[in-house]
């Protein structure tokens, strides 16, 4: 055994270190930088006050998503503060020569949806954005993670950030997934095992047959949620599924550039015998459709199970009790049968075409439950067009659902899509923190299939009962 064996993460990381600072972080080069309206204005102000320029405007991409409305996008944005941020993004992009997909642009959508679908996200790259779910792009074998506004300013001004190299973790899931078990369930299961701090300080590689067989959409869902177990990010080695997804996308390499890129991308995998600081193994058949019952994404369980007792878990009872009290649930309650007021399908976790196909497969031939308010929000205009082209819109309409326009929407409720206090939402997004979907809102995270089952029955329902 030699010392040359490297993990996928090592290979990409090491290729981007400009300078190593002794007993300090690495100066780390960034290939692609995404910005949106919420975390960028202050960074641009910083540039201005220091009198420095954007170093490589062609490597930064702006899209408006976090606080955009999901209806009537052709009208002026009502909320003056949101309108102000959107205007700032547009003006800053124009001033520094950054490409900008604002409201109404056919390429507009959630930053982590539009990057991959336009071929901006590629294997072996380093990608950052002022949003923690930037980890999504790791699905392509890229190192991708969220940064703070000061770091946005660093990337704008120098294309670099200062980062200590995280430790390495590999999570293996092998075997075959059961009926109605989706990538979202796989990730909620892993987080429930590792807890929300279980991967803090690590960068995760996902490996094993389950991920090898997974579509790119599914891989993005899994990598997206890496941050919810505290990891800096997560990645999956690129393979034929990745290359097929990328090929032909608007900004993907073409011709000779494609051939040489492909050769390079094929080397992006963990060498046999390479060392990880920590490794976990899970069995696919242990996973069932999941749902969360508490106020962090680690508080998830198989949908047919009972809410665990605090005494069976590690960690503070007080925090656990507070969390259940907020949700209005008790230890050993059943989740199945709980009333649902709102259903949200969308976000950068589950707002891609595959998610709407899954949703439609359950609601087809059924009707929306009368007491449920449903927000069906595509991740981008491209996804919206696909929904229409594939006939999914017709299925939605027939079942009594309305399709909204793209944006982050109820994922963080910065626009009008807020769940009222005390109301229950089954949501395909990524966070169930107190008040995340509106002050006092109670969120249960789940897959598009579980969301669909709740939308047509009005109660938490095992999707396996509704599909053949």
């Amino acid at each position: 055994m030699s010392f040359d064996q490297k993990t996928l993460f090592d290979k990409v990381w090491d290729a981007h270190v400009v300078r190593k600072i002794e007993d300090g972080p690495d100066v780390f080069f960034i290939d692609r930088h995404f910005i949106h309206e919420v975390t960028s204005p202050v960074a641009f102000l910083g540039l201005e006050s220091r009198g420095i320029d954007v170093i490589f405007p062609e490597h930064t991409f702006a899209t408006a998503d976090h606080n955009t409305p999901t209806i009537n996008q052709h009208l002026p944005v009502q909320d003056p503060l949101s309108a102000n941020q959107l205007k700032a993004l547009e003006q800053n992009s124009a001033k520094y020569g950054i490409s900008h997909w604002g409201l109404g642009n056919p390429k507009n959508g959630i930053v982590h949806v539009v990057g991959p679908e336009n071929g901006i996200t590629l294997p072996g790259m380093t990608i950052v954005c002022g949003d923690s779910h930037t980890s999504t792009h790791g699905a392509f074998g890229a190192i991708a993670f969220g940064i703070g506004t000061s770091e946005v300013e660093m990337v704008l001004s120098s294309q670099c950030i200062m980062q200590p190299k995280p430790k390495k973790m590999r999570i293996n899931v092998n075997g075959t997934l059961g009926k109605a078990v989706t990538p979202k369930d796989v990730t909620l299961y892993i987080i429930s095992k590792l807890t929300t701090a279980g991967a803090t300080g690590y960068f995760v590689e996902y490996a094993g047959d389950v991920f090898e067989k997974m579509s790119m959409e599914g891989r993005m869902t899994v990598c997206n949620m890496s941050i919810e177990m505290g990891a800096r990010g997560g990645m999956i080695a690129p393979d034929q599924i990745t290359f097929d997804y990328i090929k032909g996308r608007e900004m993907a390499p073409k011709g000779d550039a494609w051939v040489s890129s492909l050769a390079n991308w094929k080397s992006l995998k963990t060498d046999e015998g390479a060392k990880f600081d920590k490794e976990y193994y899970f069995v696919a058949s242990d996973i069932e459709p999941m749902i969360t019952y508490g106020t962090n994404p680690g508080m998830g369980m198989g949908i047919s199970q009972l809410i665990p007792k605090a005494s069976d878990l590690s960690g503070g009872t007080a925090t656990y009790d507070k969390s259940l009290a907020y949700m209005g649930f008790d230890e050993e309650d059943r989740m199945i049968g709980k009333k649902v007021d709102y259903v949200f399908i969308g976000s950068c976790t589950n707002g891609r075409i595959e998610d709407f196909r899954a949703f439609a497969s359950v609601i087809k031939g059924r009707k929306k439950a009368d007491h449920v308010t449903a927000w069906i929000v595509p991740g981008s205009h491209i996804v919206e067009e696909q929904i229409k082209a594939e006939g999914i819109l017709d299925i939605l309409t027939e079942a009594g659902f309305l399709l909204r326009q793209p944006g982050c929407s109820a994922c963080l409720a910065m626009n009008d899509d807020k769940v009222p206090p005390g109301k229950y939402a089954v949501s395909t997004s990524n966070r169930n923190f107190e008040g995340r979907q509106g002050p006092g809102s109670r969120t249960m995270l789940a897959s598009p299939l579980v969301a669909a089952a709740a939308a047509v029955t009005g109660y938490v329902t095992d999707p396996r009962e509704l599909i053949q």
Partner: protein, 198 residues
């Protein structure tokens, strides 16, 4: 952001003995709509601090005049959740210069240092000791020395060392930030960029 130098600090503390305090609690997303970096302190812990009608919640620690100071002491896994720097910014803007916990979420820790806040990670036992001292006497003080990398409970003399890499330490002690450092090596970065076919 330019901030005050951090050398050492002696102060009373504000206790928040809750685990997993996430960034949505530190500053709810609806307050992220500003295009300037000011006024965030007013919305620090907004939903724990105020009722929906904006009257203060009596039982929340920031509304209790018994507790004050520049040091916030939080439960394990402080700052989990989103990368929003507004969280660290709100803590700084409110007037805290140091946060003590037995464990910090990664991004929060980074953001805090970039804002000029010193995150001090102590052992779970030491954290419990701090909480019980505050409970006994809210006027107890902590002394945090970045130079020596020590944290001391003044009334008992109980002390622990904490970790901080020398690069970050140097920045905090001089009031520099990463952007100053990166600007100073621009030509090296431009050379490197040529090797990345992007």
């Amino acid at each position: 952001m330019a901030y005050d130098k951090f050398i050492s600090l002696k102060s009373t503390m504000v206790p928040l003995p809750i685990e997993n305090v996430d960034t949505d609690q530190i500053i709810p997303a609806r307050f992220l709509k500003a295009t300037k970096r000011e006024g965030f302190g007013d919305n620090l812990f907004r939903d724990w601090r105020y009722n929906p009608d904006n009257t203060p919640k009596e039982d929340f620690v920031l509304n209790n005049s018994v507790y004050s100071g520049k040091i916030l002491v939080g439960g394990r896994n402080f700052g989990s959740g989103s990368s929003r720097e507004h969280a660290a910014c709100a803590i700084y803007d409110y007037g805290f210069r140091c946060v003590v916990s037995s464990f910090f979420a990664d991004i929060f820790k980074n953001n805090a240092i970039n804002m000029g806040i010193l995150p001090v990670q102590v052992s779970p036992g030491f954290l419990d000791e701090i909480f019980s001292i505050i409970e006994k006497d809210p006027s107890s003080e902590l002394e945090v020395s970045l130079t020596d990398q020590t944290i001391t409970i003044l009334s008992t003399g109980s002390r622990e060392n904490f970790e901080m890499n020398s690069y970050k330490k140097n920045n905090l002690m001089n009031g520099f930030d990463d952007i100053d450092y990166l600007q100073s090596m621009k030509s090296e970065i431009l050379e490197f960029a040529k090797t990345r076919a992007i």
